[in-house]
């Protein structure tokens, strides 16, 4: 038997990985570029639907199953997906191909949606931009909830599992383990990629855009291009997170992707860790996920211990809300603040100051 603590640790690893990817992408847009991205859920959703609604259909079409509106009908969907998984379990190459196709599709559609949302971002500022991004996040949600041929509307669609060979030969637990480490691996890859990006000249331009747009444009930075590029990269990364989540959970539902879970919580994680600091994001996500998991496990005990007349699950929300307020008030730079990376060292600056003041003295 597998001890429960192992699967608990695995699920913490999985969630940390998933939310690290989302929060890192948010950090790129908010922490480094200064765009108030209150619509993170949109890109995550797009990535998820690209897998659940498009990649899975392509697979169904290739294998000769019905891939039209019938695919998303809850009477047929689970049968079609079962049949697909039976084929997938015997064909590792097809599984790998499907997995890559899913991620590439998700990234491409995420990039496209990032480009679309960057159109208003060119004109709008601060509060206006934040609200319109938040509103766009809701549009797709409403469309997906009501237009069932996409991902089943009120019913979730099942998603073929590219790891079915593993669950077929070793059992469900090993599939869970591989998936958790896979997602965490993607989180580390994202971290390395974003560290490289933010330390490059492009990253310095992003920071310049955040700190002073005027200075950036004086130094020849094309602000429109910069914002577009940043939103495209950020949304593509977030879309990959959505795709991984759908592949992990093997279902795709319009109701999974809410504003609170996929926009507001990543904001809280980022603020706790430190906006503009990739390492901080890791720490913030880790702390919050541990606390949330603990509340989830011990919710019955908490309720009994304090005779709470309510479900302790809401304490998660209380915690996130309070944490956001306290961070904004008392620790606005987070636990691991962004390090300043001066282009000229402090010693050099002091030398220059010394020289000029010396000249004035003469």
């Amino acid at each position: 038997m597998i001890p429960p603590i192992v699967s608990l640790i695995l699920s913490i690893i999985m969630e940390c990985g998933l939310f690290t990817i989302v929060t890192l992408s948010l950090n790129l847009e908010v922490g480094f570029t200064g765009l108030p991205q209150f619509g993170r859920v949109l890109a995550v959703e797009v990535g998820a639907f690209a897998v659940g609604g498009v990649a899975a259909r392509i697979l169904a079409y290739m294998l000769g199953f019905s891939a039209g509106a019938k695919y998303a009908n809850y009477n047929y969907n689970y049968r079609i997906v079962d049949a697909i998984e039976a084929v997938l379990a015997k064909n590792v190459a097809l599984c790998v191909g499907y997995f890559i196709l899913a991620l590439v599709l998700a990234a491409l559609s995420g990039a496209f949606i990032g480009w679309l949302t960057s159109r208003p971002a060119i004109r709008l500022r601060e509060a206006y931009l934040g609200i319109s991004l938040l509103a766009w996040g809701d549009v797709l949600m409403w469309v997906a909830r009501n237009w069932w041929p996409l991902v089943g509307g009120t019913n979730a669609v099942h998603v073929p599992d590219p790891l079915s060979p593993i669950s077929e030969t070793f059992g469900g637990f090993y599939r869970f383990m591989v998936m958790s480490f896979l997602i965490f691996g993607f989180a580390i890859l994202t971290y390395i990629y974003l560290e490289r990006i933010t330390k490059s000249p492009f990253g310095r331009a992003l920071k310049m855009h955040r700190d002073c747009e005027l200075a950036a444009s004086v130094y020849g930075v094309d602000l429109v291009k910069l914002r577009t590029k940043c939103l495209v990269i950020g949304s593509a990364i977030a879309a990959i997170a959505g795709a991984l989540y759908v592949i992990y959970s093997c279902t795709c539902s319009a109701y999974t992707f809410s504003r609170v879970t996929w926009t507001f919580w990543p904001w809280a994680y980022m603020m706790l860790g430190g906006t503009g600091s990739n390492a901080g994001v890791f720490v913030g996500v880790f702390i919050f996920i541990i606390i949330r998991t603990l509340i989830n496990i011990y919710k019955v005990d908490i309720a009994e211990l304090f005779h709470l007349p309510f479900d302790p699950i809401w304490l998660e929300y209380t915690l996130v809300g309070l944490a956001l307020i306290l961070i904004v008030l008392f620790k606005p730079h987070g636990l691991i603040p962004e390090k300043s990376e001066p282009i000229v060292s402090r010693k050099k600056i002091q030398e220059i100051i010394g020289e000029t003041s010396g000249k004035k003295g003469k």
């Binding site: 709008l124 206006y128 509103a135 956001l324």
Partner: protein
């Protein structure tokens, strides 16, 4: 006198939305804060009314003042503990938004806790509230329509008089126009900020309580209509409080009557996409009219029109 229920409910919805958007715009022009917590403040208004009716009886309308006071209290708490310190520090707009977002999540969790409490202790069903069953009719029209329309117009007139006819109102307007200059001539901007949070928060809860007469009340009611509120204030232009109220009426009526007209011409499936309407209005406003309704030079248009007639 028979008024179609669609029109009556549309007016109720639009009036409440006007109050909500008015509050958002007021807070934005006074304190540079785009208040996310408006969603949960509105939901609290609903639950103040619900608690009153379920536990103490009576008509829902007699609890409207209480809803206003409770919202004002929430606003004051937000100002004293969160918004005020940040404003003094000169925080950016995004930071101010973030803080109200935290406050919104906190209030939402308290609503959920309160709902659980009502369910377990009083055996009520606060997650599925239909306030309209307590409504009555006046001359064949739902009282909600008359009450909401009358109170919205009354509040707007009262606030207009307050801002233009009282010394303090003039001080408020001066602070909105130019905070440093207002400080120089001895206006205490802190009191002005506090007042705007009292009015904004109170109107949020009042609007939420009124809007629950035509919607199904649940803990996430505020989060569901928050996009309509934002759309209304964007349509109004975010810098004119009257524009916010006007935007509320336009968005509210478009959601109800525009949708009804579409249903007749396109088919009933369109009703599902109701939440998309405020988003479309918002997108069109941002693209073609970024200054909102208040940004249109009405005076010069009227002037031109009159001039054209004379010639």
């Amino acid at each position: 006198m028979a008024v179609s229920p669609i029109i009556a409910d549309g007016i109720t919805f639009a009036s409440a939305l006007a109050l909500l958007a008015f509050g958002i715009t007021l807070l934005y022009v006074c304190t540079r804060t785009f208040n996310f917590a408006h969603a949960s403040m509105a939901t609290w208004g609903l639950y103040v009314m619900y608690t009153g009716v379920e536990l103490f009886g009576g008509s829902p309308y007699q609890y409207l003042p209480l809803a206003f006071l409770f919202g004002a209290l929430l606003g004051v708490i937000c100002y004293v503990f969160i918004n005020g310190p940040l404003l003094r520090r000169g925080a950016s707009e995004v930071t101010l938004m973030m803080s109200t977002l935290g406050y919104d999540i906190l209030l939402l969790s308290l609503i959920q806790i309160y709902c659980d409490y009502l369910t377990r202790v009083y055996k009520l069903y606060p997650r599925m509230v239909t306030m309209s069953k307590y409504d009555f009719e006046i001359f064949g029209v739902r009282a909600a329509t008359i009450v909401s329309l009358a109170s919205t117009i009354g509040i707007l007139i009262a606030l207009h008089l307050f801002l233009h006819k009282t010394r303090f109102g003039v001080a408020v307007r001066a602070t909105i126009e130019n905070p440093p200059l207002a400080n120089i001539i001895g206006i205490n901007s802190e009191i002005v900020y506090m007042t705007s949070w009292i009015i904004g928060g109170g109107l949020a809860s009042l609007g939420g309580a009124m809007i629950s007469m035509v919607l199904t009340g649940n803990p996430v009611m505020g989060s569901l209509i928050v996009v309509s509120m934002f759309a209304a204030s964007i349509l109004g232009g975010l810098f004119s409080i009257y524009g916010g109220a006007l935007g509320g009426y336009v968005v509210g009526l478009a959601e109800y009557m525009g949708l009804y007209a579409l249903k007749l011409s396109v088919g009933p499936w369109i009703l599902m996409y109701r939440p998309v309407i405020p988003l479309i209005i918002m997108a069109v406003t941002l693209l073609f009219l970024p200054q909102g309704l208040a940004g249109i030079p009405w005076a010069s248009i009227i002037e031109k029109f009159k001039g054209g007639e004379k010639r």
